[in-house]
Amino acid sequence: STIVLLFEAPKNFQFDIVAGQTIKVGESLGHI
């Protein structure tokens, strides 16, 4: 199963993740 988030955010939004990493509920996905 898969969760897909599609969202609008300010242009200076930066992801804090890398493809392939494992992640847990509540960990930061990105910052503005």
Binding site: I3, I17, V25
Partner: protein
Amino acid sequence: RNAISRWTGFLLRWAPMGLCVFGAIEWQLHKFRSIRDGAPRTASEFQSRVYCSLPLRIMSRCWGWLAACYMPNPLRPYVYGWYSSMFKVNIEEALYSDFNHYSSMAEFFTRPLKEGVRVINGKSPLVSPADGKVLHFGSASDSLIEQVKGVSYSIEDFLGPLQTVEQSREAMSYAQALKQKRDGSTELYQCVIYLAPGDYHRFHSPTAWEPTVRRHFSGELLSVSPKVAGWLPGLFCLNERVLYMGHWNHGFFSYTAVGATNVGSVEIYMDSELKTNRWNGFKVGAHPPSTYEYDELLLNAKQHGKQSLQKFEKGDLVGQFNMG
């Protein structure tokens, strides 16, 4: 009668061989084409149709029925223990770490976690909604966006038509029309998280936001493992999925739970009317890919004089994936 029996014998003897030869030629041709074009080796239209015509929904529902069967106590440590070691389940984090607590495989699969084992990042505007593996993330401002590197899907096929007539009348791309801020200060982004069989299968809200519409797309129940996501373009538009669209304080926000063969059902705690992985008869291959019907439910109950059904805070429990 002789002629018919001779023909039947001939077909029974040579048809499987013919199919295998045809499949092998098709596979080699497709491999040659993708090497020649330097493109990632993804499924051809023919392979996609063959995959979609497999009886996966029947298999998923049978699996769901089996997983819901009562598990006799003596078997629980062995079956759940095998599953935990096979799929690296961390049972110490579960609210009930005693295998004997779970009366079925399905209940074990949707086990809750202990309080406090997941800390919601207070500073970040967006946190992970689930335990899993980051398949892909990045800008989503084009009409085709990547499900994994090099393999894409159509944002319009995935979300369905724009919600308002005004949006669809705007002379701009679908992705641009989705945005709620028109001052050019925002972009569309996406993040795809894959939940492996051993992961915690409840999911949470990644931020404070308000869903205003729910779309449930019937569809296939293909596997969504990273291997298949890297092979089958448009996979997320083919699979059964439940999509909530709304807004957060930076504009448009959508949250989609995509089902898969062994995890075909999605349960959203605040949306009791939602029913997924229903039996849709023997319509094998009835749909050309990515043109599935969907049912839509306006969640913004203000139109009916009541308060809107639901606002999510960051970290709120939203729902769970069920087996079968």
